[in-house]
């Protein structure tokens, strides 16, 4: 069977004229916008998909998607998504877009609570190893030795260690799928796209919470050229955060 893949042009559900904010040069968030627009379109769920965003650069991400969207305060997207899913009696396909800080630092309470309760929602966490919107402070996923504005000498053990979120939630019975992807090569893009579609599909099958972390470049706050930041992900970030499916209930 031949699979149709859009190779040029904009996805149908991606309206770049709607409430669009400029991203920094080399930022990979727009790629995630495109991925989501494609995934929702291909799964045929635009009529019942509801996106929930927190606060951070990622909060802009749902704006150009032609689906219903709820924006909530910093760290509370998993809670709001829970409320939406239950209030609409489980009918919609609800996903959140969160940053590493929004999801795994300020939002860890709501995020782990949702995993624990086996909420039928999907959480997509963009990991750029720092707080991008506020100017590049240390985040929960900042690498050891990485310089940020709040770790000027680099992250040391006194700041704690990078948090491996999909590995963490994979231990919880309420989570049926956990994976980590990146977007630095076309192959990685296709792999991440597969993860995102799988996560949404498992929610449609009512299996449990699904989680995908996506490594994304933040050249402006990493103080790197866009090309160098992709190289840094390939050489350093993936070493700390290996790509692949960490948990898939259908495979065990």
């Amino acid at each position: 069977m031949i699979q149709k893949v859009l190779v040029s042009g904009n996805p149908r559900l991606w309206n770049r004229n709607v409430g669009r904010y400029p991203y920094c040069p080399g930022c990979q968030h727009p790629l995630m916008e495109r991925l989501l627009a494609e995934a929702i379109d291909e799964l045929g769920i635009e009529d019942r998909a509801i996106g929930v965003t927190g606060v951070g650069c990622h909060a802009r991400l749902c704006m150009p998607l032609d689906i219903d969207v709820v924006q909530v305060i910093h760290g509370r997207a998993a809670d709001a998504a829970t409320g939406i899913k239950h209030a609409l009696d489980g009918e919609p396909i609800v996903f959140t877009i969160q940053g590493d800080g929004d999801c795994a630092s300020i939002g860890s309470e709501g995020f782990l609570g949702a995993c624990h309760r086996c909420e039928r929602i999907s959480i997509f966490m963009l990991n750029n190893t720092n707080y991008g919107t506020t100017g590049g402070q240390m985040g929960p996923t900042t690498l050891m030795g990485q310089k940020t504005t709040s770790t000027p000498e680099g992250r040391t053990p006194s700041h704690g260690y990078p948090l491996h979120v999909p590995e963490l939630v994979a231990t919880m019975r309420g989570v049926c799928y956990a994976a980590r992807g990146a977007l630095t090569t076309p192959a990685q893009y296709q792999q991440t796209r597969k993860f995102i579609k799988k996560a949404l599909q498992k929610q449609m099958d009512d299996l449990g919470m699904t989680f995908v972390e996506v490594l994304v470049a933040c050249p402006a706050n990493w103080r790197m050229k866009p090309v160098d930041s992709l190289k840094w992900i390939q050489e350093e970030v993936i070493k700390e955060f290996p790509l692949g499916e960490i948990k898939d209930v259908d495979k065990t």
Partner: protein, 369 residues
């Protein structure tokens, strides 16, 4: 009309049902547990939503999500949980999302840490503890029946103004058992919630909805700029001020007026009745809306010759006293009878009618009779 024997906390649940509420999100905390458990036991069996959140922070943000779908939604809590909900409530206001929050007050103020009763959250409920400035209508019941009626009113007002409405109860009203007439109240019809998210396919116009707390977000119709939302908010608060409600005795020639809400209003009423039976002219005002505060009732009392006001509320320094003082504008003396007047020096102590009578006599002997 059917009557049942029920406590105040459970009447919150019965009222939510009567108002067509679809979802409850909450976290266990004393002394509101009976409300929480009522929903846990009844709602799932009715095909409605009950979720035990991981915390009150979670509960209020689940309310945010559920309210964004246009369904009627409620949560309940007490002092410390109320504290955790503040950020969420501020953003429910900013997002213009209607919901009802029942706050069953308990002790816990400095000097009186207790899970037992007190009226310590007046200021927090009427002023709000979240950031950026906002207002909620605050309704204070003094009986089980009134709890039932005011929760229904709260749902209506929340939808009418697209804003959270607070029910400020206390441990004694919450645990009080009284006969309750299950009367479903009728209110004016409300417009369709065409702003709510349901999934684009369920919208009449098949167009996407975008619910946000951030007024500056481009495309948040119908507010093109932050200033246009600010103006809308200002106008809305002015309209909400018209919802003021109070109970007031109508006798003239009262030099002394008692002002109280919640459990202390029940106790105060007894003392006032006793004083009136003895021929002492004592007036009585019971604010039903704490915000907007019934300032006109106070100024009316002053026009009728009030020289002194006694605010009876079971807390340390007096909280409603601030609103009474603001309404009195220096035209009369304002006194407070509070936690130190309890009959026992324990968390179970109460302000009893005879203690209020004593204070009435003391205030009437000093100066104006």
């Amino acid at each position: 009309m059917e009557k049942i024997f029920i406590q105040g906390n459970e009447a919150v649940g019965e009222a939510a049902l009567a108002a067509g509420c679809h979802a409850f999100f909450g976290y266990p905390i004393t002394p509101q547990n009976e409300t929480f458990e009522w929903f846990a036991q009844k709602f799932p069996k009715m095909g409605r939503t009950f979720v035990q959140a991981q915390s009150e922070v979670g509960a209020i943000n689940m309310v945010y999500g559920a309210a964004a779908t246009g369904k009627r939604v409620i949560t309940s809590t007490s002092g410390p949980g109320w504290g955790l909900m503040q950020e969420g409530i501020a953003n429910l206001c900013a997002g213009e999302l209607p919901c009802v929050i029942a706050l069953v007050q308990r002790g816990g103020t400095p000097g009186a840490p207790s899970v037992q009763h007190a009226q310590a959250d007046y200021l927090s409920a009427t002023r709000g503890g979240g950031g950026s400035g906002y207002r909620n209508i605050v309704l204070a019941p003094a009986s089980v029946q009134e709890t039932y009626d005011l929760v229904q009113l709260a749902f209506y007002l929340a939808d009418k103004y697209r804003n959270p409405v607070i029910l400020l109860s206390d441990a004694l009203i919450g645990h009080l058992m009284e006969p309750l007439e299950l009367r479903t109240l009728n209110f004016d019809s409300l417009p369709e919630k065409e702003w709510a998210v349901r999934g684009k396919g369920k919208q009449n116009d098949k167009k996407r909805r975008y619910v946000t707390f951030a007024a500056v977000v481009q495309g948040r119709e119908p507010y093109p700029t932050m200033m246009s939302f600010a103006k809308h908010w200002y106008d809305k608060v002015e309209k909400m001020k018209s919802e003021v409600r109070a109970e007031m005795t109508q006798q003239d020639d009262c030099k002394l007026w008692i002002v109280a809400y919640g459990y202390t209003s029940r106790v105060s009423k007894e003392a006032v009745n006793e004083a009136c039976a003895q021929g002492l002219g004592v007036g009585f005002i019971r604010p039903i809306t704490l915000w907007p505060f019934p300032e006109k009732a106070i100024s009316e009392a002053i026009e009728k010759g009030a020289k002194k006001f006694l605010v009876v509320e079971d807390n340390i320094e007096g909280q409603m006293v601030e609103d009474v003082n603001a309404a009195v504008q220096g035209k009369a003396d304002v006194h407070h009878l509070g936690l130190f007047a309890r009959h026992l020096p324990t968390p179970a102590g109460m302000i009893l009618p005879h203690r209020i009578s004593e204070e009435i006599n003391r205030l009437l002997q000093k100066g104006d009779k």
